[in-house]
């Protein structure tokens, strides 16, 4: 029997728009197991990013329960959620969330600094991760000089460096051509195989679905496994 990594029960999220309360997620239920590669497919504005941000502890739901690796996110305060992001959950935003003026090394080093890893150990982990991602030769290059595909790799490296149980990627292929997108998706598959990391990808591109073993559709705030 596989371990359950994510349990989402009856999740609701509302936004206020022009004085009206609009439900962006309507009673979402989902179970993700260790080693799953889940893809959530849906059109823009369906609530995919909101769902991912709630899983990452970056936003709070209005109702419902989310349990990640045994931690009930709805009961945790902001500081505890931040700690969760340095240990269990890693989030890769659509715009990569990197600091352009920092080098690749400095960007990937950040989570390890936050986690308080000593310098020597930090360097070993960093080199290992950058080598795994195939960007070790670019480690002293500033992120602003990298291509979209390379930036995506740096963002994945930064997420992977703390060996999370759950990796969340928001539209990882949106800014890439299909060749580069395929390479990034194959990389996710490799990470999943090598580290047994549960990966959740949200995308509006149906081609991403073929790389996942769990496929979900999110339309108008309702999530269904397909």
């Amino acid at each position: 029997m596989k371990d359950i990594i994510v349990t989402v029960k009856n999740l609701w999220k509302y936004y206020n728009y022009m004085g009206q309360r609009i439900a962006i997620l309507k009673g979402v239920n989902v179970l993700l197991y260790r080693g799953d590669v889940a893809c959530i497919y849906g059109p823009s504005g369906a609530g995919k990013t909101t769902f991912l941000k709630i899983l990452a502890g970056l936003e709070r739901p209005d109702a419902g329960e989310i349990i990640v690796e045994g931690y009930n996110l709805t009961l945790l305060d902001d500081d505890a959620l931040a700690t969760l992001r340095t240990t269990i959950v890693s989030y890769i935003p659509q715009d990569y969330g990197l600091i352009d003026d920092f080098t690749v090394y400095e960007n990937v080093e950040l989570p390890l600094l936050v986690a308080g890893i000593p310098e020597e150990e930090r360097r070993v982990i960093l080199l290992e991760t950058l080598r795994y991602m195939g960007i070790v030769e670019k480690m002293y290059t500033k992120v602003k000089y990298l291509s979209g595909g390379e930036k995506q790799r740096v963002a994945i490296a930064r997420a992977l460096v703390v060996t999370p149980s759950l990796l969340l990627a928001d539209e990882p292929t949106a800014n890439l051509d299909w060749e580069n997108a395929k390479r990034v998706l194959e990389l996710f598959t490799r990470i999943n195989r090598d580290f047994e990391t549960t990966i959740t990808i949200v995308s509006h591109d149906a081609r991403v679905l073929e790389f996942a073993n769990r496929r979900f559709a999110l339309y108008d705030g309702v999530l269904k496994e397909v």
């Binding site: 970056l58 902001d78 500081d79 931040a82 700690t83 969760l84 992001r85 340095t86 240990t87 989030y91 935003p93 969330g97 990197l98 600091i99 352009d100 003026d101 920092f102 400095e106 960007n107 950040l110 989570p111 600094l113 936050v114 986690a115 308080g116 930064r158």
Partner: protein, 132 residues
């Protein structure tokens, strides 16, 4: 919070464009205070310093947003992010303070500058960044 993150933040503040504006302003401020000494000059220079500080933050708004976003994603706590922002801006306040120490070493004026600018940056952080 790891001290290295604070050092990185301070270095980043110096590398950003807004710091160049503050440097340029600091040189002209020294000349202004030395050549036209007086209470009116001091009052005007204090107001100008706050405006210049705001202009420098405004010019680096995207960089600051990127920094805060990245720190948030990697799991820095809210208080630590606020501290990083405080350091980012205070590097610039320190530069202006040094100008006053050189050109008009009066404790009251420096205290006014420090208090006013810190109230100001707290307001900027609250209204511009923490609200997203």
């Amino acid at each position: 919070m790891h001290y290295k993150i604070l050092i990185k933040t301070a270095k980043y503040s110096i590398k950003c464009n807004g710091f160049n504006y503050i440097m340029l302003y600091a040189f002209s401020l020294i000349l202004y205070i030395i050549t036209c000494p007086g209470n009116v000059t001091l009052a005007i220079s204090l107001i100008l310093s706050i405006i210049m500080l705001y202009a420098s933050i405004l010019s680096d708004k995207l960089n600051i947003a990127q920094l805060i976003n990245a720190y948030n994603i990697v799991g820095l706590k809210r208080k630590e992010i606020a501290l990083a922002f405080y350091i980012f801006v205070n590097i610039r306040i320190l530069l202006i303070t040094m100008v006053y120490i050189i050109a008009y070493p009066n404790f009251t004026v420096i205290a006014y500058l420090f208090v006013l600018s810190n109230i100001f940056i707290a307001l900027v952080y609250h209204f511009s960044f923490q609200r997203g």
